[in-house]
């Protein structure tokens, strides 16, 4: 049942743009540029000692989260992984709150209770990840189960890595979603390494083949092509809302940085990194848009200004009050529900989110 939509290939692969306006295509680039710029700024803040703990980024993988999240409607629900900052940006999390989050400030999404990319803004329909990967596959599956039970036309999406495919929760979620034919989209971010462990020590078959084993569609996508990612996610969402069950999208990409800031990636052959550098997702999208006459330099300048302003604001914000460290373990009183997220894709503007 696995189909191959686009073989990973070096730069310049054109994909269908039937569902994307020029504005949409700029949005995708903008989300990726903002992600990269914010992570670069956060890394510099980390080196200055302003980001406690460690620092993780998604350099080179920006297309995976940007493209997939762009296909999600306001009422869809997302469980986003740690190299997928663009998904948060698309849902509407502001750069100031993201930088505040990295720095453990009171204005961060978790108000200093959790670090780095361990967050999800519940007001924007996101549930933050935990470190035990891929636990959120089951949570997303459960959300999709509720949508199906209530007859709602929405879906859930979750991201996880190649290492995650070895754990039981991967199989439990895939099996459960397949048995119950749930509207859930699994985005497998195959970035070649789980920490230092290469994929040939992780699985004996291409993990996309496993979708068929659980009774649903699996597609392999060039994970460095935001438009291809969008198209795969859009089609998966269409299937989900039509009652045709889950989709596994294997996004083939490369982790261009170490596992975290401390990791010099000595275990990765230099040629491998150089080969993938030619497939940079941002360069690819910029090339497309430049051909359409989009002012890329202007866009970059406006994003840099936005990040400068966000950093200034985040640095001015207070640290959390130590007196609140034990607050909020339990919900007391009325529970606040998940809210809806931003959904900038033009396809939602015309029909209110329906496919």
């Amino acid at each position: 049942m696995a189909t191959h939509m686009a073989e990973p290939a070096a730069g310049g692969v054109e994909t269908t743009v039937d569902h994307l306006t020029v504005e949409d295509r700029v949005w995708l680039l903008r989300a990726m540029l903002l992600m990269r710029g914010l992570e670069e700024r956060a890394m510099s803040l980390y080196r200055q000692g302003r980001v406690p703990g460690s620092f993780y980024d998604g350099y080179g993988q920006e297309a995976v989260s940007a493209g997939a999240a762009f296909a999600m409607g306001p009422e869809d629900r997302l469980c986003i992984l740690h190299r997928d900052l663009a998904a948060h940006l698309i849902r509407g999390v502001t750069p100031t709150r993201i930088l505040s989050q990295y720095m453990g400030r009171a204005a961060g999404i978790t108000r200093g209770r959790d670090g780095n990319v361990h967050f999800g803004d519940r007001k924007l329909g996101c549930v933050g990840m935990v470190s035990m990967l891929p636990d959120m596959m089951l949570v997303a599956t459960g959300m999709a189960m509720a949508f199906k039970l209530r007859g709602e036309k929405r879906c859930a999406m979750t991201w996880f890595g190649d290492g995650s495919t070895s754990r039981g929760d991967f199989h439990e979620a895939m099996n459960w979603a397949g048995v119950q034919k749930l509207p859930v989209i699994f985005v497998l971010e195959n970035n070649q390494y789980a920490y230092s462990t290469p994929v040939d020590k992780q699985f004996a078959v291409d993990p996309v083949e496993r979708a068929a084993a659980y009774g649903f569609v699996g597609v392999t996508v060039d994970g460095n092509d935001a438009e291809a990612m969008f198209e795969a996610a859009r089609a998966a969402r269409e299937r989900a809302l039509a009652g045709e069950g889950p989709t596994l999208i294997e996004a083939v990409t490369m982790r261009m940085h170490g596992h975290a800031a401390h990791d010099d990636m000595k275990y990765v052959p230099k040629e491998q990194v150089e080969e993938w550098r030619k497939r940079d997702p941002i360069e690819r999208q910029e090339k497309r848009l430049r051909e359409l006459g989009i002012d890329i330099d202007g866009l970059r300048a406006s994003i840099k200004a936005e990040i400068d302003a966000a950093a200034e604001e985040a640095l001015a914000g207070p640290m959390p009050d130590p007196a609140t460290a034990v607050d909020g373990v339990f919900c007391e009183g009325e529970a606040e529900p998940l809210g809806d997220g931003q959904a900038p894709w033009s396809g939602f503007a015309s029909d209110g989110g329906a496919v």
Binding site: L149, A173, C331, E336
Partner: protein, 322 residues
């Protein structure tokens, strides 16, 4: 007021909740068509259908994890672990995802996990455990353990209405042995302790299946001593006020756990008394618990480790003489 068994009281609470609230959803292995390993949900599919009384794949992490997902989008899932022992397979989802959710993200997880627990019937090492202390040690999870049919129903209603994850410890040994008057309809039993029997010379603090053991142990053979039995009912939150109040009035304390002794609920109660009730004590805090061994299968071995009436009575007798 109808007389129900402990098991019927649990069924009654679930049935009332399913009728009253369309958000309530039961999930578990063999709970639907078969009606559950202990028949708690016997006949439920006929009234509520297979969507709301869901036979799940055999996957405890899957049950807890998907229930968390359903809970955060507005459902009120009640999960059954076929035996509480199997929660080890769902531990990560419960402790790391559900337990930490509200603190990290301000997102409530209204989830109940029913945990048929306890030994006494040759269930062996994998069908007899009392894992409540694992979850007492994990922030963000409430833990309750009824000992009567009335509380079994009332605590389950309260657990389902609670916006937090709740481990509901239902003791298998009590299912058909305990029978009492149970109010009709929906009512909530608070997550506080209850004086099961008032007294003034010594208090036995217990919960779950150890409450009837304590009541029987102190019913005779103690030379007319006035012995109180305090039923904790809730382990998280722990009713510190009620515990310290009993200690102050009785001055001597025996704490009974069916769980393995180290770091058990009773150890926490003992620590609390040492910290905040020391001045009231007229003797050492005495604990009766299962030694730190897997629960053995063969009846003489199992009876040798589980606290019984004789061990509790002997502990009381010795402490009264102190």
């Amino acid at each position: 007021m109808p007389t129900l068994t402990y098991l019927q009281a649990i069924s009654s609470a679930l049935r009332d909740e399913l009728r009253a609230d369309s958000r309530v959803l039961l999930m578990g292995e063999d709970i639907g068509v078969f009606g559950g390993a202990f028949k708690v949900t016997d006949g439920f599919v006929d009234e509520f259908g297979t969507d709301r009384v869901m036979d799940t794949p055999l996957a405890e992490s899957g049950i807890i994890g998907t229930a968390i997902g359903a809970a955060v989008v507005g459902m009120r899932p009640v999960c059954e672990m076929q035996f509480s022992d199997f929660i080890s397979c769902g531990f990560d989802q419960l402790v790391n995802v559900a337990g930490k959710m509200h603190y990290r993200q301000g997102l409530a997880v209204p989830l109940v996990v029913r945990l048929p627990s306890g030994g006494g019937f040759s269930g062996g090492p994998f069908h007899s455990q009392n894992p409540e202390a694992w979850f007492m040690h994990s922030p963000g999870i409430k833990v309750v353990a009824p000992s009567t049919a009335e509380d079994a129903k009332g605590l389950l209603h309260a657990a389902i209405h609670d916006p937090n994850p709740v481990c509901y410890m239902e003791h298998k040994h009590l299912y058909r042995r305990v029978k009492d008057d149970v109010p009709s309809g929906v009512y909530e039993t608070p997550f506080t302790a209850r004086v099961a029997q008032p007294g003034s010379d010594l208090v036995v603090i217990a919960y779950g299946a150890m409450v009837p053991v304590a009541l029987e142990a102190v019913s005779d053979g103690l030379d007319g001593a006035s012995v109180e039995v305090l039923d904790l009912r809730s382990l998280v939150p722990l009713d510190e006020e009620a515990i310290l109040d009993s200690v102050e009035r009785c001055s001597k304390v025996v704490i009974v756990d069916e769980a393995n002794a180290t770091c058990a609920a009773g150890a926490q109660v003992a620590a609390l008394i040492a910290e905040k009730g020391f001045e009231s004590l007229d003797g050492p805090v005495v604990r009766v618990a299962t030694p730190d061994v897997p629960i053995p299968f063969s009846p003489p071995l199992e009876q040798a480790v589980l606290p019984g009436v004789d061990r509790v009575r002997e502990a009381c007798r010795e402490l009264l003489a102190y």
